[in-house]
């Protein structure tokens, strides 16, 4: 195996950044050093934040106590708090954040639009609507029925939005506005049902709709994590097609990509990430929107990359989780989804202002 950082004339392309190229007779790869290092750094920060989140709560622990408990030692009481109560939540923050980041990267890349994330195009609204129907109309509030409803509602809505926006192909702008329209319609139907419900049921739905990971337990987390790993594997397998598809369908075809099946696979994977998270934790907005873009800016890569987006998503969700725990210490518990919506919305506004300014700069 030979590794080089300097390009060899006539053989390699100078990408303008340092690249590791491991080559063996069986496989070869091109690893952009900066992107991978920064992404790993983001991932490490996410894990650290997760550990910090375990220390916070009604019964505060030190970081040392958490470490000893996680390595198998420590008091029984600490073991219960750390392993049974707080670890699944911290793990959920990392895994769900990564999944949302992947979903956002896939959709932004496919729509070639920084705004084309699943939550913007109506997925969350559909999941929320199905859950409202399940809890308020059908009266079943168990974990599995809620999760199934969220999954089905989200998928159906995503399909509906896609079909409604389809007109000789999909265009990012149309997809987004159709998503807004469908969300508005479902949102007002939700509001109608919520005002007719008993106050306790309505608040249950309200909490679910705000998006919270604090009630995640190992029983819910284990299947979610297993599915999450499957999704991450699928995403890794499809990453190359995603990069080629960014070149346009014709160029991707000449590179040997089966364009339509690759796109279908990517859409299914992208929807699955959001569906899984929404089913387990409720709609957690804006991570999928923000993570790929922030990651792209930090790693200074040309397009969105799934790996760095996943790490950034994990970092953002654990940070929001930590913030919600910190707020709970001094004030009251805040659903983590509300924090991501508020911070993410402000980011979106900033993004729009910047785009508007740049747009006008190009065309005065």
């Amino acid at each position: 195996m030979s590794t080089r950082t300097a390009p060899r004339p006539g053989c390699d392309v100078d990408f303008g950044y340092s690249v590791l190229r491991p080559r063996t007779p069986w496989w070869s790869a091109r690893i952009p050093v900066r992107l991978v290092c920064l992404a790993l750094l983001l991932g490490a920060a996410a894990v650290l934040m997760g550990l910090l989140a375990i220390t916070l709560g009604d019964y505060p622990l030190t970081l040392g106590e958490v470490f000893t408990t996680l390595t198998g030692a420590g008091e029984d009481f600490h073991r219960m708090i750390v392993l049974d109560w707080r670890a699944p939540v911290a793990a959920a923050a990392v895994v769900f954040g990564a999944l949302l980041g992947i979903g956002g990267a896939i959709f932004q890349s496919l729509t070639r639009n920084p705004l084309g994330s699943p939550d913007i195009i109506g997925f969350d609204a559909g999941a929320y609507f199905a859950v409202v129907i399940t809890i308020l109309v059908l009266g079943s509030g168990g974990y599995w029925s809620v999760a199934t409803a969220a999954l089905a509602g989200g998928l159906l809505t995503a399909c509906a939005v896609y079909l409604l926006a389809y007109r000789r192909g999909i265009q990012g702008f149309r997809l987004i506005v159709v998503g807004i329209g469908v969300s508005a319609m479902l949102g007002s139907a939700n509001a109608y049902l919520i005002t007719r419900a008993e106050i306790d049921d309505a608040m249950t739905v309200g909490f679910w709709g705000a998006g919270t990971i604090t009630r995640v337990t190992w029983t819910g987390m284990v299947p979610a994590a297993a599915l999450g790993c499957a999704i991450i594997l699928a995403a890794t397998a499809l990453a190359r097609s995603l990069r080629q598809l960014e070149l346009g369908d014709d160029a991707a075809t000449t590179q040997g990509i089966a364009v339509n099946s690759a796109r279908l696979g990517l859409i299914v994977t992208g929807v699955a990430t959001t569906a899984l998270v929404t089913a387990a934790a409720g709609p957690i907005g804006f991570i999928a929107l923000v993570a790929p873009q922030l990651a792209r800016r930090i790693t200074r890569s040309a397009g969105v990359s799934m790996f760095s987006a996943a790490m950034m998503g994990a970092l953002l969700l654990t940070a929001a989780h930590l913030l919600s725990l910190a707020v709970a210490q001094v004030y009251r518990p805040v659903p983590v989804g509300l924090i991501t919506v508020c911070l993410g919305g402000i980011y979106l506004i900033w993004l729009l202002m910047r785009e508007a300014r740049r747009h006008n700069g190009v065309m005065p």
């Binding site: 329209g181 919520i194 309200g206 909490f207 705000a210 910047r354 785009e355 300014r357």
Partner: protein
């Protein structure tokens, strides 16, 4: 109706006399159809409700004001909500027409642009921290919130110079709405009492508002309408683009500032009274443009008549379909209006962000 003053300069040269006559005929016909529909709906709104009174009971109740059930229902419930429906309908319609003309954006609507969310957030703050109770207490908070949201969205959307891309403005509104709704949700979820008193408010209903409250906001709404009517001439040239408008002698800056003030007054006041009825301001100007053409004076006049028709029709439908309960008018307009939005983006030649 004198034809020459109704057609803008650009159109007069293009349109041959016969086409001009056809347009005038279409406009006149449309105007009278709208007036007739409005009159019919006013009567229907008095006659039908979740309590099924017979027409003769309504008729006697209307003329003999006493303490019978019919008279009370007509005078205390149906007349106020009909009046409120007409007033806020006209305001939302004109606000929509104005903001679509000012931003040259066919997708603009006060509800979509986050005005409802601003009002809702301010009311939630008022209920949660200042202990407001009842619609009367909400009104001024809602008005301030709605006005602030309108200004904020406009500032965000116009961060660059020149025209604002339709999507940027819509997204700015949606983003602002999401943030404000997030804060409101937080404030309601931490306190069941706030949740209970606030959850009905943001739906958009004309049934809860009483006439005294309407009267206290009316001066603002009338000012807004008056500004809109005065501006409608300059709006014709603004829609041609800033450069052309300036060369035609229009004071662009003044038109824009006054226009935004009018939109703020109209959308803010109407949202304060109802909790926000989305999509009326989006749909009505589009429907009106089918028969009056691109002249803003006609669009604003006919929007002021067509929007109450829509609001009253939705309100009457909401009373009838869910007896003995009601469906709020804002819910019905959203369910009708969202497909209109989708149809608009499907048929327009869209531009990427």
């Amino acid at each position: 109706m004198p034809v020459d003053t109704q057609v803008p300069a650009g159109q007069k040269m293009a349109a041959p006399p016969s086409a001009r006559q056809a347009l005038t005929r279409r406009r006149t016909l449309g105007l009278f159809t709208l007036l007739a529909a409005l009159g019919l709906l006013l009567l229907t709104s008095l006659a039908h409700g979740s309590n099924s009174l017979s027409y003769s009971q309504v008729w006697t109740g209307l003329w003999v004001r006493d303490t019978t059930e019919a008279s009370l229902i007509v005078w205390e419930l149906r007349i106020p909500r009909t009046v409120v429906g007409v007033i806020v309908g006209a305001c939302f319609g004109v606000a929509g027409a104005l903001i679509q003309a000012l931003t040259r954006n066919p997708l603009a609507d006060p509800g979509i642009l986050g005005v409802n969310a601003g009002a809702g957030f301010a009311v939630t703050l008022g209920v949660g921290f200042f202990g407001l109770t009842g619609i009367t207490g909400y009104i001024w908070f809602a008005f301030l919130g709605a006005a602030a949201a309108t200004l904020l969205v406009y500032v965000i959307g116009s961060a660059g110079r020149g025209i604002i891309s339709p999507v940027t403005l819509v997204l700015a509104g949606v983003a602002l709405g999401a943030v404000l709704n997030g804060f409101s949700t937080f404030l309601t979820l931490i306190d069941p009492d706030t949740f209970r008193s606030i959850r009905n408010w943001g739906l958009g209903s004309i049934a809860r508002t009483d006439l005294a409250d309407t009267l206290s906001v009316l001066p603002l709404l009338l000012t807004g309408l008056a500004i809109a009517v005065c501006l409608s001439g300059s709006l014709n040239s603004v829609t041609l683009g800033d450069d052309l408008a300036a060369s035609l002698g229009t004071k662009i800056m003044r038109t824009r500032v006054l226009g935004i003030i009018a939109v703020t007054l109209l959308a803010g006041g109407a949202t304060a009274l109802t909790g926000g009825i989305a999509f009326v301001g989006l749909m009505v100007p589009h429907i009106v443009r089918w028969f009056v053409g691109p002249d803003q004076r006609w669009i604003i006049l006919c929007s002021a008549l067509a929007a109450p028709v829509l609001v009253l029709a939705a309100d009457i439908l909401g009373r009838v379909i869910a007896r003995p309960g009601e469906v709020e008018v804002g819910i019905l307009t959203a369910i009708v209006g969202a497909p209109v939005l989708i149809a608009l983006v499907r048929h327009r030649k869209a531009s990427g962000l």
